[in-house]
Symmetry: D2
């Protein structure tokens, strides 16, 4: 278990010159997430399995929820494995560990980037940060297509050669358009949906099949101002902090598991328009953080609560 040389490579990888070399080895790079009822020696069992596969662990973190008697773990490792060996390993893990210990688990080989679909309405900033993170290879992910209820951002999608599906929503066609969205998502084998200020309420048609795989960004203030025009309400009471929350989408609107949050300080000199601008910058920052944590397989969810191995 010597992470030294490999870690150095990761750092180098971030310099543009070394991109290609790294790509070839990515087949050997894996992340395992697992959780289960706390059982004696479970951590040792998991790490032993990885050693036995001839792998090197390059990142390890776990969390024991003493109150709930529950165990959560994330392990990042690398090994020289052909694609076929990956399937063998996965099967062996299922039989030897996941089954007997009744794990909730997920083993991802980084042989291909995660496939994203981005839902937008008007906001350029939210879209750009996602594009930049993918194109700069800070994220191991690719935007497969963009969906929007408006045509405004189509030229931006064209600039980046990303397919843009303009699916306008009105009172009568929501069911049809969601069916259409669902078909696109399945056809392109989407792993993660990002709502980048998509100004539409979605139904269980989309939410159920993508549980904990749709990320939304929500303004949120201290204390929360429910109802319409939250920035006007915040301004009216002289709020001193503006916040944003990145969360998974659930049927209970804006109440899904929280992945990331942040705030910015404001004062009375800020007009409502200023607060909106501060809020937007913050949303972009928090959305990028939340999506990045998901892409790196750093988020586990249980009973609506997130464990984030940041």
């Amino acid at each position: 278990m010597k992470g030294g040389p490999f870690l150095k490579e990761i750092i180098d990888w971030k310099s543009p010159a070394r991109k290609n070399k790294m790509k070839d080895r990515l087949t050997a790079h894996a992340v395992l997430r697992a959780s289960c009822i706390l059982q004696k020696g479970i951590a040792a069992k998991l790490t032993q399995f990885v050693y036995d596969a001839g792998a090197e662990i390059i990142d390890y973190d776990h969390y024991v929820d003493i109150e709930k008697n529950y165990f959560y773990c994330r392990m990042e490792w690398t090994a020289s494995l052909e694609e076929i060996e990956q399937d063998v390993l996965r099967a062996r893990f299922r039989d030897k560990i996941a089954g007997p210990y009744r794990l909730d688990w997920d083993l991802r080989f980084k042989s291909r980037p995660l496939r994203l679909a981005v839902f937008v309405s008007y906001e350029l900033a939210h879209l750009y940060v996602l594009l930049m993170k993918c194109l700069s290879r800070q994220w191991d992910a690719r935007i497969e297509f963009i969906v929007s209820n408006h045509a405004d951002l189509a030229p931006e999608a064209a600039r980046f050669d990303v397919p843009y599906h303009h699916l306008p929503i009105d009172k009568n066609n929501k069911a049809v358009q969601e069916a259409c969205q669902l078909a696109l998502l399945k056809e392109r084998q989407i792993d993660l949906i990002v709502f980048a200020r998509y100004m539409q309420v979605v139904t269980e048609t989309l939410i159920r099949p993508y549980e904990n795989r749709i990320i939304n960004i929500h303004h949120s203030m201290l204390p929360a101002f429910a109802g319409a025009k939250p920035y006007h309400q915040a301004h009216a009471r002289g709020v001193k902090l503006i916040g944003a929350t990145g969360h998974y989408v659930t049927l209970d609107l804006d109440a899904g598991p929280i992945i990331a949050q942040a705030v910015k300080t404001v004062d009375h000199r800020k007009s409502v328009a200023d607060l909106v601008a501060v809020g937007r910058d913050l949303e972009v920052e928090v959305l990028a953080r939340a999506v990045g944590l998901h892409i790196d397989s750093r988020v586990l969810v249980r009973d609506g609560r997130t464990i984030v191995f940041d």
Copy 2:
């Protein structure tokens, strides 16, 4: 208007050795807060008045709310004035400026410390920070007495020679006890009431006569979790930030004008008990900040919105 020498004195004043010297000059130290509909030359008019009184301005800040067409100002100045001259000056200000320009105003001479009453239940930390700020002379204020619905903190009050009024509240005696509290407040000419985790809902008996003169501290989280056990709710959703809000008390519970707010970052490793502890430290910090801003006459309130000249 040369602030140089005087400001230096203020800095020196904070060193313990110079306390006494400063005290003698405090009669000459004043803070004026004023607000009105924006009128041409109003700022010049105010500063001119202070010059004409032979005073030196040592701090000046104003804010123009363009949208509401409203002007807010805070001026701190010093002059060699006997107490009787103060009354003359105040009267002249009323007649020459405040009347004609229809100002909402307040002129405070720092000839005596502000008089505080602190309402507590159990929490030591909130009380101590208030005592420390007064005793160390960081604040120009004195705690006249402590009110509590419990006897627990009486020994602490004794340690500091502060009168402690134990006024237990039950279903039937709230009206009587509040009348008693009101009598105490009037008798001791209290300027500001601080609720330092006072676990009782107070009625308009107290709130009306002390509008914008009662400060409360409220936990608040992003997004807000209404109802009982907010820390349990926050924990259940994996909240990443814990917050606190210092505000004036209004009849609409916990919805008064906001004076100060802050947050702390938390993660899944924090138990509910940990979140409570983080929240308490934060409350202490924010309560001290809110009360300090009030004591320095830095807060103006209009239509439920605060202007804080921090």
Copy 3:
């Protein structure tokens, strides 16, 4: 002085639908920055001048440095002025106010976007945030060209139809290449240079003609770790905060006037590579904030100290 209707328009302007309408009125939108030794009635004099020109003030802020006896002011206003009238107004301001009061001043009519030149080496994230802010019209600015000592980002410049000047620097050619840069800057009438992780030390050839018009982003940690590999040093001591500072470039490297700063919390679980990644995100955020403040004419500098009317 009724900001109401206009301000509403500003808010609306941010919605994509109203962009074009707003554009026509931009000729009438101006920002005045002014500072001088504190003189009686100076604030009234300035606002009076703007009224007399038939303008509406839509944002006003000023700061009086009591210790230094100095006055700083920023005023944003709008009026129906032809371009020729702008010149008349500017001349009248020079003669009637700026001269007699010995102002340090700057009056900018927003008839054309500010012209930016961006200097880069490898980093995509820093470049993208600048492009996004301009293209989304959050900033009243345009990137005229990009300069780089490397060819790596040329394809990105092409994607956005921005000219890209590849000017490699080695031991012997720095003087020649800086002369070339200077020629480009002058030819394109550049208002502001942004160093978006430009990994070259520049000389007074560039710095002198663009005093307080070159913005750089600098990692900075608490306490600062001087010398090479600051993230390694920070990691070695278990640093808990990573910071970034956006500042004007002066001959004294990394010691120029500070425009914006921010920090992020980190812990021992972060590897050096993680710290670098956190630092990069933070740099992008702070660089965008610093450049945005400059573009909105919100920064004044005197004796190496910034006054930021945020």
Copy 4:
């Protein structure tokens, strides 16, 4: 390993009513800190040992430094053990685990509060927060005595019945006074020394015997301003953040392992005196956090780098 009922008791314990009951069980409450070269199954070995002792783990956290191939662990557990059994357990741990695995370790039974000595000069705020944390039983610690080079705070020590040793330092007597301090520290079996703005440089006489057991608070700004009057320097450059660092004292002044850090936002409206005041509040907050982390045995140090299990 069922933390449920016990944890609930911890929460209840924080309510004043249950204090005494908890106290009786504290003999059974222990914290183990351990670190070593990463070895297969080490985590399982440690937890197994605690189970075999009949204990319940109530908090568990560990960190694997992949790059350095090092393992760090903190375990909090409770068991019904007489004092004599504690010694037996400790001896068994030494022989069976610590020896064979070559652990760097520390096992603390919470049978008695940690013993603190506080070194002060003038600052009341720093002292009060320490007193409050102990008296409110938020910390499992007691202030045994206060040392000062000045007499100013003696009355405050008297108020809390804490012995106050006035040991003035001049050019010639430092060696004598440090010998005296050392004698006091030994006589009272001090576990932790807190420098609460003690304005004296101490020598290796004190530092060596209390390695990683002296905590100091240091202002620190972004970027750091070395030399005298750091707040004046920060003000002169228009700094936007004020910071503080809580760290262990080493012979290399102000460069010891970092336990906690925080910053506050400031702007140009803050005078030097204001910055000093902001800095003091922040120092108090960070000092309390750093000392609290130490008291809860949450800090491990290796090669000058802290691992903080917060």
